[in-house]
């Protein structure tokens, strides 16, 4: 870098618009800063608590215990090993939801830096997603330990599905984060709406229930199909709508990879808890999510770029 500078000093242009290409290049150039921002978030969060990082493992472990107690012991879910099912979905959901929630406030929270220092502001958003990824890892460890303790075997040949699914969630989370964080600078109540929206969203994806065992049959039941046919939408299937949510495939893939293919007795009917399809079917859905995430990420970056020009004044 230094030698390069003595030859030819890099020229930087500050104009009304910054091209997307330059933004991507900046993201790559400033990866050191991204790492430091994530480290900052983590160390600020845990420096003052006695248990430090251990705390972040204890939290999901306790949650696992509570969920297990309620659904398995008290309510008696038809889903075997419900805690494992739940945690595999929750692992992915928590990563996504905390990414979006954290990213929404990222710019406002760091207002003091944004007002005084010039750097690619989208790094703040991506750092929040990175921070969530670290928590994701902690939770994964907790889940792995729990599974080892009860000797639960994941479906090893399907485990790789978590990789495209994770990538889809990260991309989609970044995309939403970019848009929401920029909007939140101008309208500070966005963060409250996001909270409520995420709460509702949680129930629109199969984390606490099984899609194939409960909702799926209802969405594709005779009655619904007949109705759609009657209104001239015979070609349409409601399950498509459900799976069009880019996060649904992510949750399904995680369940398939970690919880595996199991069946349950639902009101006398034996049904698969996770869709009984080939792994390619899951991968296809994940690729769809990645595609949606990528498109939205580009749009998000564009919106963020436009709104960013006045961040320093609005904060």
């Amino acid at each position: 870098m230094v030698q390069q500078l003595t030859k030819q000093k890099a020229e930087r242009v500050v104009a009304a618009k910054i091209g997307l290409g330059e933004r991507f290049l900046n993201l790559f150039k400033r990866r050191d800063l991204l790492a430091l921002l994530i480290a900052k978030e983590l160390s600020v969060k845990y420096k003052n608590s006695v248990l430090g990082f251990a705390w972040s493992m204890l939290n999901p472990a306790l949650m696992l215990a509570v969920w297990y107690f309620i659904f398995q012991v008290v309510l008696g879910s038809a889903i075997q090993y419900f805690a494992i099912y739940l945690m595999s979905g929750l692992l992915a959901w928590n990563f996504f939801a905390s990414s979006v929630q954290g990213a929404t406030t990222a710019v406002v929270e760091n207002g003091e830096i944004v007002k005084k220092v010039a750097f690619p502001r989208e790094l703040l958003v991506i750092a929040k997603v990175g921070q969530s990824a670290v928590f994701f890892l902690f939770q994964a460890i907790v889940l792995a330990v729990a599974m080892a303790v009860i000797e639960y075997k994941p479906s090893l040949q399907a485990l790789w599905l978590v990789i495209p699914a994770f990538f889809a969630a990260a991309l989609f989370g970044c995309a939403l984060g970019l848009i929401l964080s920029a909007l939140n600078v101008y309208y500070r109540d966005i963060q409250h709406f996001v909270e409520i929206a995420l709460f509702a969203w949680f129930f629109a994806v199969p984390v606490v229930y099984s899609y194939t065992a409960t909702l799926g049959p209802k969405l594709s039941s005779k009655g619904v199909e007949n109705f759609l046919h009657a209104v001239g939408l015979g070609w349409f299937h409601l399950p498509w709508l459900y799976l069009a949510d880019p996060i649904a495939p992510v949750i399904l893939s995680f369940s398939r990879a970690i919880y595996g293919l199991r069946y349950g007795n639902f009101g006398g009917q034996i049904r698969p808890i996770v869709p009984h399809h080939s792994l390619v079917w899951f991968l296809g859905l994940d690729l769809y999510s990645i595609f949606v995430g990528l498109v939205l990420f580009l749009i998000g970056l564009k919106i963020f770029s436009r709104m960013e020009a006045n961040f320093a004044e609005e904060l």
Binding site: K9, V14, K47
Partner: protein, 399 residues
């Protein structure tokens, strides 16, 4: 010579709201329509800075100078035009901006350096120098929230100056910390100049500009009104300040004369420089003439005059008693104060006149700081008073 900073027809438009709506709810209720006015914080500003040049940017509060600096730094983006900067840039808008209170000094050096655009390797290489410069080696692993404001500023300056930027933007930050550290900062900036680096200094202190730069710009309401040597630009800046003050005081004048002081009315005041010109220099004299009208003919009075600087500090004061002059009021009178020289340095000074009844001490008329004059210093002297000085240096035994 090649440029280091090129500001190319830059304008920055802001929206001014009568009332800020910062929630989506309000926005929805108002159906998206929010009354606002648009104004240009910067209007077609165009200049460039050569490599190795040190320039100052002067302007009142709200003149757009900080907006300009933020555009150069890349914190704000211009609405029109562009800024080109060659080489690495460090902006010191506020020392220690971006420090996180919960992190240690060490962590903050890395974070801050990285925010300023330097790689981890660069910072590692410079780490010891930064710590040494900040004089904080004992506290480097302490959380920054336990630092004093001086320590905070020291660390901030140390990071910004030690990561070898090519261009340094400074916004009135040298006014922090203790004196010893301030001197160190100024020395560091001077070293910077010697190394042929580019410096942009934004301030409203003409003295700093005079001492540290070779060229100065003046901004007024977003428009560049001067781009010249420091001396000339400072003069433009001063005149603009005076113009603004007179405007503000016009209404006040009427009120003072018409309603408050009924027994004596000061009709007219005139400042006459003994040497001609818009501003005076230290060696020229000054004549202040007040014309008044009163109903108290023959009554003994005390007349006093005061000079203040623009911050309201009293520079000089004297009254007719001190001068052993007996004053008896006339129907139509004239008071003249004649100064044979004005040994002051750069500045705008205001004159106040007071007329009191000698017997009771009652204030009969008071014309407060309405008239101003400017002293322009043509030498390199800085400060308030123009002292005559001679420098002698020799071997000890020869003198």
């Amino acid at each position: 010579m090649s440029y280091s900073i090129k500001v190319n027809k830059v304008s920055k438009k802001f929206r001014l709201y009568d009332q800020r709506y910062t929630s989506l709810k309000e926005r929805v209720i108002r159906l998206g329509k929010i009354p606002h006015r648009e104004f240009y914080a910067l209007n077609n500003v165009d200049f460039s800075v050569s490599e190795g040049e040190s320039i100052g940017i002067l302007g009142r509060n709200g003149s757009g100078k900080s907006t300009l600096l933020k555009c150069i730094a890349g914190i704000l983006r211009p609405s029109e035009g562009e800024v080109r900067v060659r080489g690495r840039l460090a902006a010191m808008l506020e020392l220690g901006a971006g420090f996180h209170p919960e992190l240690s000094g060490r962590d903050n050096i890395f974070l801050n350096g990285s925010l300023l655009g330097f790689s981890k390797k660069d910072i590692q290489r410079k780490f010891d120098e930064i710590v040494a410069f900040s004089e904080l080696s004992k506290f480097i692993d302490t959380q920054v929230k336990h630092y004093s404001s001086g320590m905070f500023a020291r660390l901030g300056f140390a990071v910004a100056i030690n990561v070898e930027p090519d261009v340094l933007l400074i916004d009135e930050v040298l006014a922090v910390g203790d004196e010893a550290f301030q001197a160190k900062c100024i020395e560091a900036v001077k070293n910077f100049q010697k190394q042929g680096k580019t410096i942009v200094l934004v301030t409203h202190a003409p003295d700093l500009v005079r001492a540290n730069t070779t060229r100065a710009l003046v901004l007024n309401e977003g428009v560049l009104i001067s781009d010249a040597t420091p001396g000339e630009s400072i003069k433009v800046f001063r005149e603009e300040l005076i113009a603004l003050d007179t405007e503000k005081n016009d209404q006040k004048t009427k009120k003072d004369d018409e309603s408050v002081w009924q027994k004596i009315k000061i009709k007219h005041c005139q400042i006459e420089a003994l040497k001609l010109g818009a501003s005076i220099d230290s060696s020229s004299g000054l004549k202040v003439i007040y014309d008044y009208e009163s109903e108290l003919q023959g009554q003994p009075a005390i007349v006093s005059i005061e000079l203040h600087d623009l911050h309201g500090n009293l520079i000089f004061s004297i009254d007719s008693g001190d001068l052993e002059e007996e004053i008896y009021l006339e129907n139509n009178g004239r008071i003249i104060f004649e100064f044979s020289s004005m040994p002051l340095l750069d500045g705008v000074f205001s004159i106040s006149l007071q007329i009191k009844a000698k017997a009771t001490g009652e204030i009969l008329a008071w014309r407060d700081s309405l008239e101003k004059f400017e002293v322009l210093n043509r030498s390199k002297k800085r400060g308030l008073v123009d002292l005559e000085v001679k420098l002698i240096h020799a071997r000890m035994d020869s003198y």
